[in-house]
Symmetry: C2
Subunit: 126 residues, 2 copies
Protein backbone atom coordinates (compact mmCIF):
# COMPACT_ATOMS: atom_id res chain seq x y z
CA UNK A 1 0.00 0.00 0.00
CA UNK A 2 2.95 2.33 -0.39
CA UNK A 3 1.63 5.59 -1.65
CA UNK A 4 4.61 7.82 -1.18
CA UNK A 5 5.24 10.43 -3.78
CA UNK A 6 5.34 14.06 -4.57
CA UNK A 7 3.17 15.43 -7.28
CA UNK A 8 1.91 18.68 -8.67
CA UNK A 9 4.77 20.66 -7.25
CA UNK A 10 4.69 24.42 -7.11
CA UNK A 11 7.26 26.88 -8.45
CA UNK A 12 8.39 27.55 -11.05
CA UNK A 13 4.83 27.08 -12.23
CA UNK A 14 3.25 29.76 -10.11
CA UNK A 15 0.33 27.47 -9.37
CA UNK A 16 -1.17 26.45 -6.08
CA UNK A 17 1.02 23.47 -5.39
CA UNK A 18 -0.14 20.22 -3.87
CA UNK A 19 2.52 18.21 -2.15
CA UNK A 20 1.60 14.63 -1.51
CA UNK A 21 3.59 12.64 0.98
CA UNK A 22 1.95 9.31 1.59
CA UNK A 23 3.73 6.79 3.70
CA UNK A 24 1.42 3.84 3.60
CA UNK A 25 -1.74 5.40 4.95
CA UNK A 26 -3.74 8.14 3.32
CA UNK A 27 -3.97 10.17 6.49
CA UNK A 28 -0.35 11.11 5.95
CA UNK A 29 -1.14 12.92 2.73
CA UNK A 30 -0.64 16.61 3.27
CA UNK A 31 -1.46 19.60 1.17
CA UNK A 32 0.82 22.59 1.15
CA UNK A 33 -0.09 25.74 -0.68
CA UNK A 34 2.71 27.56 -2.41
CA UNK A 35 2.44 30.59 -4.57
CA UNK A 36 4.81 32.38 -6.86
CA UNK A 37 5.21 35.19 -4.39
CA UNK A 38 5.03 32.98 -1.31
CA UNK A 39 2.15 34.98 0.09
CA UNK A 40 -0.25 33.12 2.32
CA UNK A 41 -3.31 31.59 0.76
CA UNK A 42 -6.70 32.80 1.94
CA UNK A 43 -8.99 30.52 3.91
CA UNK A 44 -11.05 29.84 0.80
CA UNK A 45 -7.97 29.04 -1.27
CA UNK A 46 -6.75 26.67 1.41
CA UNK A 47 -10.19 25.06 1.50
CA UNK A 48 -10.15 24.51 -2.26
CA UNK A 49 -6.65 23.12 -2.01
CA UNK A 50 -7.75 20.69 0.70
CA UNK A 51 -10.56 19.33 -1.44
CA UNK A 52 -8.22 18.99 -4.44
CA UNK A 53 -5.58 17.31 -2.32
CA UNK A 54 -7.94 14.69 -0.96
CA UNK A 55 -8.85 13.71 -4.49
CA UNK A 56 -5.17 13.22 -5.26
CA UNK A 57 -4.58 11.27 -2.06
CA UNK A 58 -7.35 8.76 -2.71
CA UNK A 59 -6.91 8.47 -6.48
CA UNK A 60 -4.27 5.78 -6.16
CA UNK A 61 -5.31 3.44 -8.94
CA UNK A 62 -5.87 6.29 -11.34
CA UNK A 63 -2.68 8.06 -10.32
CA UNK A 64 -4.48 11.26 -9.32
CA UNK A 65 -6.51 11.33 -12.52
CA UNK A 66 -9.60 9.49 -11.30
CA UNK A 67 -11.13 7.77 -8.28
CA UNK A 68 -12.68 4.33 -8.42
CA UNK A 69 -16.07 3.92 -6.68
CA UNK A 70 -14.35 2.04 -3.85
CA UNK A 71 -11.80 4.83 -3.41
CA UNK A 72 -14.60 7.42 -3.37
CA UNK A 73 -16.48 5.41 -0.79
CA UNK A 74 -13.36 5.19 1.36
CA UNK A 75 -12.90 8.96 1.09
CA UNK A 76 -16.52 9.59 2.12
CA UNK A 77 -16.30 7.24 5.10
CA UNK A 78 -12.97 8.59 6.33
CA UNK A 79 -13.24 12.25 5.42
CA UNK A 80 -16.94 13.06 5.64
CA UNK A 81 -17.99 11.17 8.79
CA UNK A 82 -20.13 13.97 10.19
CA UNK A 83 -21.82 14.79 6.92
CA UNK A 84 -22.66 11.10 6.82
CA UNK A 85 -24.11 11.16 10.31
CA UNK A 86 -26.41 14.04 9.58
CA UNK A 87 -27.59 12.47 6.38
CA UNK A 88 -25.95 14.86 3.91
CA UNK A 89 -24.16 12.17 1.95
CA UNK A 90 -26.98 9.67 1.60
CA UNK A 91 -27.42 10.67 -2.06
CA UNK A 92 -23.66 10.20 -2.51
CA UNK A 93 -23.92 6.57 -1.47
CA UNK A 94 -26.55 6.03 -4.11
CA UNK A 95 -24.43 7.77 -6.74
CA UNK A 96 -21.42 5.65 -5.86
CA UNK A 97 -23.57 2.53 -6.21
CA UNK A 98 -24.58 3.65 -9.69
CA UNK A 99 -21.06 4.36 -10.89
CA UNK A 100 -20.42 0.81 -12.05
CA UNK A 101 -17.65 -1.65 -11.25
CA UNK A 102 -16.36 -0.67 -7.78
CA UNK A 103 -12.73 -1.18 -8.77
CA UNK A 104 -12.82 -0.18 -12.41
CA UNK A 105 -15.22 2.69 -12.98
CA UNK A 106 -13.63 6.12 -13.15
CA UNK A 107 -14.74 9.20 -11.28
CA UNK A 108 -12.89 12.19 -12.68
CA UNK A 109 -12.15 15.38 -10.78
CA UNK A 110 -15.13 17.33 -12.09
CA UNK A 111 -17.55 14.61 -11.02
CA UNK A 112 -15.83 14.39 -7.63
CA UNK A 113 -16.22 18.14 -7.16
CA UNK A 114 -19.89 17.85 -8.09
CA UNK A 115 -20.40 15.11 -5.51
CA UNK A 116 -18.77 17.21 -2.81
CA UNK A 117 -21.14 19.97 -3.88
CA UNK A 118 -24.06 17.61 -3.36
CA UNK A 119 -22.85 17.04 0.19
CA UNK A 120 -22.56 20.80 0.69
CA UNK A 121 -26.05 21.40 -0.66
CA UNK A 122 -27.38 18.67 1.62
CA UNK A 123 -25.93 20.48 4.61
CA UNK A 124 -27.42 23.79 3.59
CA UNK A 125 -30.85 22.23 3.38
CA UNK A 126 -30.73 20.81 6.90
CA UNK B 1 -23.38 47.99 5.58
CA UNK B 2 -24.42 46.27 8.79
CA UNK B 3 -24.30 42.58 8.12
CA UNK B 4 -24.59 41.27 11.61
CA UNK B 5 -26.63 38.19 12.07
CA UNK B 6 -26.66 34.58 12.94
CA UNK B 7 -28.01 32.10 10.51
CA UNK B 8 -28.12 28.42 9.84
CA UNK B 9 -27.59 27.53 13.44
CA UNK B 10 -26.66 24.06 14.48
CA UNK B 11 -28.26 21.88 17.13
CA UNK B 12 -30.87 20.71 17.56
CA UNK B 13 -30.64 19.96 13.88
CA UNK B 14 -27.53 17.85 13.94
CA UNK B 15 -26.26 19.65 10.88
CA UNK B 16 -22.95 21.28 10.24
CA UNK B 17 -23.75 24.70 11.60
CA UNK B 18 -22.62 27.93 10.05
CA UNK B 19 -22.48 30.86 12.39
CA UNK B 20 -22.30 34.20 10.72
CA UNK B 21 -21.23 37.18 12.73
CA UNK B 22 -20.73 40.16 10.51
CA UNK B 23 -20.01 43.50 12.01
CA UNK B 24 -19.78 45.77 9.03
CA UNK B 25 -17.06 44.07 7.02
CA UNK B 26 -17.23 40.67 5.49
CA UNK B 27 -13.88 39.64 6.88
CA UNK B 28 -15.54 39.35 10.24
CA UNK B 29 -17.77 36.54 9.06
CA UNK B 30 -16.73 33.36 10.76
CA UNK B 31 -17.71 29.78 10.21
CA UNK B 32 -17.94 27.46 13.13
CA UNK B 33 -18.58 23.79 12.64
CA UNK B 34 -20.80 22.11 15.16
CA UNK B 35 -22.01 18.58 15.09
CA UNK B 36 -24.60 16.69 17.01
CA UNK B 37 -21.96 14.87 18.99
CA UNK B 38 -19.54 17.80 19.14
CA UNK B 39 -16.78 15.76 17.55
CA UNK B 40 -14.26 17.67 15.50
CA UNK B 41 -14.85 18.03 11.81
CA UNK B 42 -12.31 16.54 9.45
CA UNK B 43 -10.14 18.78 7.31
CA UNK B 44 -12.36 18.12 4.30
CA UNK B 45 -15.53 18.91 6.23
CA UNK B 46 -14.00 22.14 7.46
CA UNK B 47 -12.99 22.98 3.91
CA UNK B 48 -16.52 22.41 2.64
CA UNK B 49 -17.87 24.48 5.51
CA UNK B 50 -15.48 27.32 4.63
CA UNK B 51 -16.67 27.42 1.03
CA UNK B 52 -20.31 27.34 2.15
CA UNK B 53 -19.70 30.06 4.71
CA UNK B 54 -18.13 32.42 2.21
CA UNK B 55 -21.19 32.15 0.04
CA UNK B 56 -23.33 33.11 3.01
CA UNK B 57 -21.04 35.98 3.95
CA UNK B 58 -21.12 37.58 0.51
CA UNK B 59 -24.77 36.85 -0.32
CA UNK B 60 -25.99 39.99 1.40
CA UNK B 61 -28.62 41.18 -1.06
CA UNK B 62 -29.99 37.68 -1.50
CA UNK B 63 -29.91 36.98 2.22
CA UNK B 64 -27.69 33.91 1.82
CA UNK B 65 -29.84 32.52 -0.97
CA UNK B 66 -27.95 33.97 -3.93
CA UNK B 67 -25.01 36.16 -4.91
CA UNK B 68 -25.26 39.03 -7.35
CA UNK B 69 -22.52 39.24 -10.01
CA UNK B 70 -20.95 42.14 -8.13
CA UNK B 71 -20.91 40.17 -4.89
CA UNK B 72 -19.36 37.19 -6.66
CA UNK B 73 -16.72 39.44 -8.17
CA UNK B 74 -15.95 40.90 -4.75
CA UNK B 75 -15.60 37.37 -3.33
CA UNK B 76 -13.23 36.36 -6.12
CA UNK B 77 -11.07 39.45 -5.70
CA UNK B 78 -10.89 39.21 -1.92
CA UNK B 79 -10.88 35.48 -1.38
CA UNK B 80 -9.17 34.05 -4.45
CA UNK B 81 -6.30 36.51 -4.97
CA UNK B 82 -3.68 33.85 -5.70
CA UNK B 83 -5.88 31.83 -7.99
CA UNK B 84 -6.38 35.07 -9.85
CA UNK B 85 -2.66 35.72 -10.09
CA UNK B 86 -1.90 32.34 -11.55
CA UNK B 87 -4.70 32.67 -14.04
CA UNK B 88 -7.06 30.06 -12.60
CA UNK B 89 -10.04 32.37 -12.34
CA UNK B 90 -9.87 34.01 -15.75
CA UNK B 91 -12.82 31.96 -16.94
CA UNK B 92 -14.71 33.01 -13.82
CA UNK B 93 -14.38 36.66 -14.79
CA UNK B 94 -15.92 35.86 -18.13
CA UNK B 95 -18.73 33.91 -16.50
CA UNK B 96 -19.47 36.76 -14.11
CA UNK B 97 -19.61 39.15 -17.07
CA UNK B 98 -22.19 36.90 -18.73
CA UNK B 99 -24.43 36.60 -15.69
CA UNK B 100 -26.42 39.72 -16.48
CA UNK B 101 -27.21 42.80 -14.43
CA UNK B 102 -24.34 43.15 -11.93
CA UNK B 103 -26.67 44.06 -9.07
CA UNK B 104 -29.73 42.06 -9.97
CA UNK B 105 -28.79 38.72 -11.50
CA UNK B 106 -28.84 35.79 -9.13
CA UNK B 107 -26.12 33.21 -8.68
CA UNK B 108 -27.46 30.39 -6.56
CA UNK B 109 -25.37 28.10 -4.39
CA UNK B 110 -25.07 25.29 -6.92
CA UNK B 111 -23.77 27.68 -9.57
CA UNK B 112 -21.36 29.20 -7.06
CA UNK B 113 -20.04 25.74 -6.19
CA UNK B 114 -19.60 24.99 -9.88
CA UNK B 115 -17.62 28.19 -10.35
CA UNK B 116 -15.35 27.34 -7.45
CA UNK B 117 -14.89 23.98 -9.13
CA UNK B 118 -13.84 25.74 -12.32
CA UNK B 119 -11.15 27.55 -10.32
CA UNK B 120 -10.03 24.24 -8.80
CA UNK B 121 -9.86 22.58 -12.21
CA UNK B 122 -7.87 25.51 -13.52
CA UNK B 123 -5.31 25.02 -10.77
CA UNK B 124 -5.01 21.31 -11.45
CA UNK B 125 -4.26 22.02 -15.09
CA UNK B 126 -1.39 24.41 -14.30
Amino acid sequence: MGRGGVGGTGPPGGRIGVLWEGGGVREQCVGIGSCRDNQELTDVERAIETVINQFHCYAVKGQKEYLTPNEMRELVVQKLPHLGKVGCVGPLDEKIECMGDPDEAKLEFGEYWDMMGDAAKGCRRK
